[in-house]
Amino acid sequence: MTQDSIKFKLFQYNTMNVKDVVERLSLNVFSATEALDREVTGGYASDLLSDVMGHAQEGHIWITLQTHKNIMAVASLKDLAAIVLVKGFEPDKDTMELSVKEGIPVLGTKMQAFELAGKLYEMLK
């Protein structure tokens, strides 16, 4: 391998799907269980939707405490793998409906964002 390709390999996340993440971190699945095979390429943690629209990338798992339905529109726009709500937050009813419609799972955990992001980063790096 050339030096460049080694570097490239180092910065690639391990690939796994949403179901693997759910199982390994014991996450709740609120909606779109049929879409758990979506591939996870990385993660992004932010509660400002303008920021997520600008910086999250396709296949990312998005960590947030926002439960508003607009999170689904942003997830769909950026083709994110899933959304994880932290600290025991639950999605609004219309958020779950959109999650099913868009086929992007909304997950949940009692962990706070710092803890979840750390664990997810360790898994994916």
Binding site: L48, L49, S50, V52, M53, Q66, T67, H68, K69, N70, A73, V74, D92
Partner: protein, 244 residues
């Protein structure tokens, strides 16, 4: 032609200048030729009625309400008729997440009367968010037949754009407030979520000299709450904003 500046803070907002008292606000409104002002402190209506009384003596119509912080931390101007103000105040006090204010950091939060005597110092931080979504707040204010105007929707913080990315589909609002240097026609061209709404500009004054720096011309058939609400929604004669 009716000039309205619907976003003015008072000494009750921690960030509001100590000079933002009932007399000073009304005097400045008259100097600026404003016919209508909106008193919109952060999540509290405690200074509205006193300013309305002073305004009534000087023919300045005062809309009573608050700049409400939603769960998503979006700022929304909410106004109701004076007889519904108690209901709005109760809703705000019941749903705000209460943390103690530190006046040295955030500033004092004072309810005052016309003689600038302090009636009450609010001890919890008024800029905190309510545990209610933007839709729930809009629904509550409309259940009181009120007016809902998302504030400075294009601002970099505490706005529809910063917190939610775009206006939620199905959001009910009488108008949208844009920042002083915004061009709403350019915004509409880029963002279909805000099409079909009327736009206003206001000063968001925290200091007396800021009052009237941006304002909106509206065309109410009569100077009443209902008249103002209809004028904000008017399709045939929509509001036109101006910046000094």
């Amino acid at each position: 032609m009716t000039r309205a500046d619907l976003h003015i803070h008072t000494v009750l907002s921690p960030c509001g200048d100590i000079e933002m008292t009932p007399q000073n606000i009304i005097s400045r409104a008259i100097e600026e030729g404003l016919d209508i002002i909106g008193i919109a402190d952060h999540n509290s209506t405690l200074n509205c009625l006193e300013i309305r009384r002073v305004g009534a003596e000087k023919s300045v119509y005062v809309l009573c309400g608050a700049e409400v912080t939603t769960r998503e931390e979006v700022h929304v101007l909410c106004f109701v008729e004076p007889d519904k103000l108690g209901d709005l105040q109760f809703f705000l006090e019941s749903n705000i997440i209460k943390v103690p204010n530190n006046p040295d950091v955030f500033g004092y939060q004072l309810a005052v009367n016309v003689n600038e005597e302090v009636l009450e110092e609010v001890d919890y931080l008024l800029v905190n968010a309510l545990n209610k979504s933007i839709e729930e707040i809009s629904e509550f204010v409309h259940s009181l037949d009120g007016i809902v105007i998302p504030a400075h929707i294009d601002k970099g913080s505490n706005s529809i754009y910063s917190q939610l990315g775009f206006l939620p589909f199905g959001m009910v609002a009488e108008a949208l407030e844009v920042s002083q240097n915004a061009d709403s026609s350019l915004m509409v061209a880029k963002d279909k979520s805000i099409r079909g709404f009327n736009f206003i500009k206001s000063s968001d004054a925290h200091y007396p000299y800021e009052i009237g720096r941006a304002y909106t011309i509206i065309h109410p058939e009569e100077l009443s709450f209902e008249g103002i609400k209809s004028a904000l929604l008017s399709v045939s004669n929509p509001p036109e904003y101006r910046v000094k």
